[in-house]
């Protein structure tokens, strides 16, 4: 690989373009749309900083399963649901502000671990098609979530306050107000630089999380995960308990997604009980891929770049669409299309590359065999 890039400068440029085609495409889209939308720079920076604080932690939760070779963890939705259940309970107990958030995180851990265990077990039964299975798992658990929140909260799980209960006496309302803890994490230690509010504490937590992920990659378990991600068979021969390692990677991802969802929702300030989690997996995965990640490789840098580019597009697309065509819905649909399109492209690139690698391996084997014959 290295030899080739030294061979010709033009080849290296071409390779750089090919490898970073998705981020470059989004940079171009943003560069075109921003002037059309007419937003001021200050407004955009403010929005981006807010959205970085809101989303980065959630997206970080996707990194570990990618290292373990399980692809994009659509099952992060499970963690998001665990976080939501924890927030519902905590807001019923009326614990406010930072203590409320911390308690919600603590409450979410056992739920996340349980769901992660289930998801990991299911994915171990479906090796080779983890993504589609985790995707369906998120729907399935979505049904169970509805069962719990809509029917069990009230009669089985005690909910005291009628402000979050449906008028019929059981089940949770469509929206739960988190006003008591709204942005309490973001506002603590927040500083203003040139009119841009920077949620220092949230960024500090994110920074710690990044360090944690880097550190984790260096531990024995992290190394095992990388080995499993590269080749299950080789890892198994080396004495690694593959199933257990994969299970742990999913559990960690689910727990982190639970925390991420709590951070996300405390920024939003209210919880749409039945719809907050449905799209979250898709948007996080799209953002990560926009940042230049692929199904088998993702770094912290991808997360940051992805959030900035994806959300820039997200903010400006409706306005730009409205300016161009006079219909704001077009921009709205465009950003949905862009999100799905980028995931589709990433998946296709991943599969073709996998196939090409397999073909190459086959050819090398053939070559080796023919040499043996000689």
């Amino acid at each position: 690989m290295k030899k080739q890039s030294q061979a010709s400068g033009a080849g290296a440029v071409a390779r750089f373009l090919r490898q970073n085609s998705v981020p470059l495409m989004f940079i171009i889209i943003c560069a075109v749309l921003i002037p059309i939308s007419g937003f001021s720079a200050g407004y955009l920076i403010n929005e981006i900083v807010t959205r970085m604080g809101r989303n980065i932690f959630l997206i970080l939760s996707l990194l570990i399963p990618i290292t373990a070779g399980m692809g994009l963890n659509f099952g992060m939705t499970l963690g998001a649901m665990a976080g939501e259940i924890a927030l519902i309970l905590v807001s019923d107990w009326q614990i406010w502000g930072i203590p409320g958030i911390v308690l919600a995180m603590i409450v979410s851990i056992p739920i996340s671990v349980g769901l992660g265990l289930l998801c990991g077990k299911i994915l171990n039964m479906a090796k080779g098609r983890e993504m589609v299975t985790s995707y369906i798992t998120s729907f399935f658990i979505g049904g169970v979530y509805m069962l719990v929140v809509l029917y069990m909260m009230g009669p089985i799980i005690p909910i005291a306050h009628s402000s979050i209960k449906l008028p019929r006496g059981y089940g949770i309302r469509n929206t739960v107000s988190l006003l008591s803890m709204r942005q309490s994490l973001d506002n603590l230690l927040a500083i203003r630089v040139l009119g841009v509010k920077i949620p220092t504490l949230t960024f500090l937590i994110i920074g710690l999380m990044c360090l944690g992920i880097v550190w984790f990659g260096k531990t024995k378990l992290g190394q095992d995960m990388r080995a499993v991600g590269q080749d299950i068979q080789v890892a198994r021969d080396a004495g690694i308990d593959v199933e257990r390692t994969r299970l742990i990677s999913i559990i960690i991802s689910t727990v982190l997604a639970g925390f991420g969802m709590i951070i996300y929702l405390q920024n939003m300030g209210n919880l749409s009980t039945y719809s907050s989690h449905t799209q979250i997996g898709m948007f996080c995965i799209a953002a990560l891929l926009v940042g230049g990640a692929s199904v088998e490789k993702a770094s912290i840098g991808n997360v940051f770049l992805g959030v900035i580019l994806f959300h820039l597009m997200f903010i400006v697309a409706p306005q730009a669409g409205a300016k161009i065509t006079g219909d704001s819905m077009i921009g709205e649909y465009f950003r949905v299309f862009a999100s799905y399109g980028v995931i589709t492209i990433a998946l296709i690139m991943y599969e073709t590359r996998k196939r090409k690698a397999k073909l190459m391996a086959g050819r090398q084997l053939q070559l080796a065999q023919s040499e043996d014959v000689k």
Partner: protein, 356 residues
Amino acid sequence: MSQTEKTLKPVSGFSAFVQNFGLPRLIIAGFLLLLFIAAPFVGSNFFTQLTNTINRFSWNAILVLSMVPMVHSGCGLNFGLPLGIVSGLLGATISMELGFTGGLSFLMAILIATPFALIFGYGYGHLLNRIKGGEMMIATYVGFSAVSFMCIAWLLLPYRSPNMVWGLSGKGLRTTITVEGYYDKILANFLKIEIGSFSIPVGTLLFFALLAFLMWAFLHTKAGTAMTAVGSNPTFARASGINVDKVRLQSVIMSTWLGAVGILVYQQGFGFIQLYMAPFYMALPAISAILIGGASVNKASITNVIIGTFLFQGIVTMTPTVMNNIIRMDMSEVIRVIVSQGMILYALTRKQGGSK
């Protein structure tokens, strides 16, 4: 099917039957039976319920049938069904735009949808040939991308018919368009049998039977056998001189076209064309229906389609009324989600339906 029966015959008895039929299927069938038995006791008319179930069966059966070719050729479950649906929607709206009415509009809708389905299916099939092994996930996202792209198209395409566009601005298609005056119940009312509260949409069922028969006949031709061979063992198929990629392409085109026809039949029964985000999750009910009917990721028959659609639609129609009356809660949505997604999950995690 016949092969597994042969091998399982010596192990007779209930456990063998369960193994052959699959426990989840048995539970679902038992649940539906229970609902039918309970229906008269909770005061809902048995015949109305049965009519509803048969009606919904007739709307959905072809969409479920569209899974069969792709499963046969080893492309997995057609999560990309929305692509076929989009072609059907294009056919429907263009036929109405051109001013066809009555039965002719239905025929024209199918005719106009066909080239779209062929073109989309061709591209989609080529794509799936390049990514063998990862079909299902990519199919899902191809479907999503197609639907969200068409959302933009529905707004921008130059439709003019006042029956379809937004009244105020005079452009951009509405989210739901009624097919009244066009092909509303055009098949359902053909040879319709009505006895009191019990009615059968014979025309729709006949149309499904025709397509199902054609599918069955096709699978018994040389090309059809080749398709099954490709699905069950691609290496063997290639060794015996079958062009694997071509056969897979054929199957994807067939599935896409059946999806297009399926949505048109659905519309004539339902009475409305649903645009924009509506086709988004339409693949999942069809997939779980065929799985409930006994299909697996790489095996499906016409019988699976019929049994599965009936069971799935039975549960969808029966649970709201019957369950509501028994426990005074509307749990139908939750049950529907858990049953259908659980069924897909079950199929995906089965070893025998394993990845190649």
